[in-house]
């Protein structure tokens, strides 16, 4: 039987490691889009959305609705401008072979409740103004 020397031992260990480690772990990891997570943005569009990206390599490529945009660097903090509507965002790593899972971002006009709040305050303002004017008129008539 052949004796296992240090050099052969190291070579064998390295070979075994390569054979046992799953292939995906050795491949480059796709970047991850941490923010925005799946969400809705209630603002009049277009809106600028800040992106939080975890990536080992830069630049990364942003894909919006299947269309690859300009590459993003780690600095300045990456952002994307989104028109009103639903959008699917994905990140592609530097070689554009691996993609992150898609994130859905929806840009809607302000919620109806916010408009209701504005209208409600308008109603309160009109009624309170009328009451104040009526009271002031009565005070004036009484010579106060």
């Amino acid at each position: 039987m052949t004796k296992l020397g240090p050099t052969r031992g190291i070579a064998l260990g390295f070979g075994l490691s390569l054979a046992l480690v799953p292939g995906s772990a050795l491949a480059s990891e796709p970047p991850q889009l941490l923010a925005p997570a799946e969400r809705a943005i209630f603002r009049e569009g277009p809106v600028e959305v800040a992106l939080t990206i975890a990536s080992d390599e830069w630049p990364v490529w942003l894909e919006v609705d299947g269309e690859v945009r300009a590459p993003l660097a780690a600095w300045p903090p990456p952002k994307v401008v989104l028109e009103p509507g639903m959008h699917r965002l994905r990140l592609l790593e530097r070689t554009r072979t691996h993609a992150s899972s898609a994130t859905t971002v929806a840009v809607f006009p302000p919620k109806r409740e916010q408009l209701d709040g504005r209208e409600r305050n308008g109603v309160i303002a009109v009624i309170a103004s009328l009451l104040a004017l009526l009271g002031a008129t009565l005070l004036r008539r009484r010579g106060l």
Binding site: G117, S129, A132, G135, L139
Partner: protein, 115 residues
């Protein structure tokens, strides 16, 4: 709801109600010192504002905004009228109504048009 937002609301309320209360009190207390009139006018709103400001959101959640507003502002008008009446103001209820309606109107116009 922060302390700053309460302070802003209190400042706005005082800015509107203080001159109205002071005018009512000055007529009834002509012989009193000016500081007394202004202090009594300040106290009128200070007595009720914390209750109105802090209780309105939870009451509005339970009763709806209109009944809650009527309730807290009705309370403010009555308590401030009692305070003014105690200090000799004639038509205290009317003065209190004018002061509170004015401050609500200013705050509501600001919220509707600016914020």
């Amino acid at each position: 709801m922060s302390l700053l937002s309460w302070l802003l609301a209190f400042g706005l309320t005082q800015a509107v109600e203080l001159p109205i209360h002071a005018r009512a009190l000055r007529r009834a207390n002509a012989q009193r010192a000016s500081w007394f009139v202004w202090a009594a006018a300040f106290m009128a709103s200070a007595l009720t504002h914390p209750f109105v400001y802090l209780s309105y959101p939870s009451l509005a959640g339970q009763l709806g905004w209109a009944p809650a507003l009527a309730l807290v502002e009705g309370f403010a008008v009555l308590v401030e009228a009692a305070w003014l009446r105690r200090l000799g103001v004639r038509d205290a209820l009317l003065w209190s109504l004018v002061a509170n309606a004015s401050s609500v109107a200013v705050a509501a116009w600001l919220r509707a048009l600016v914020f």
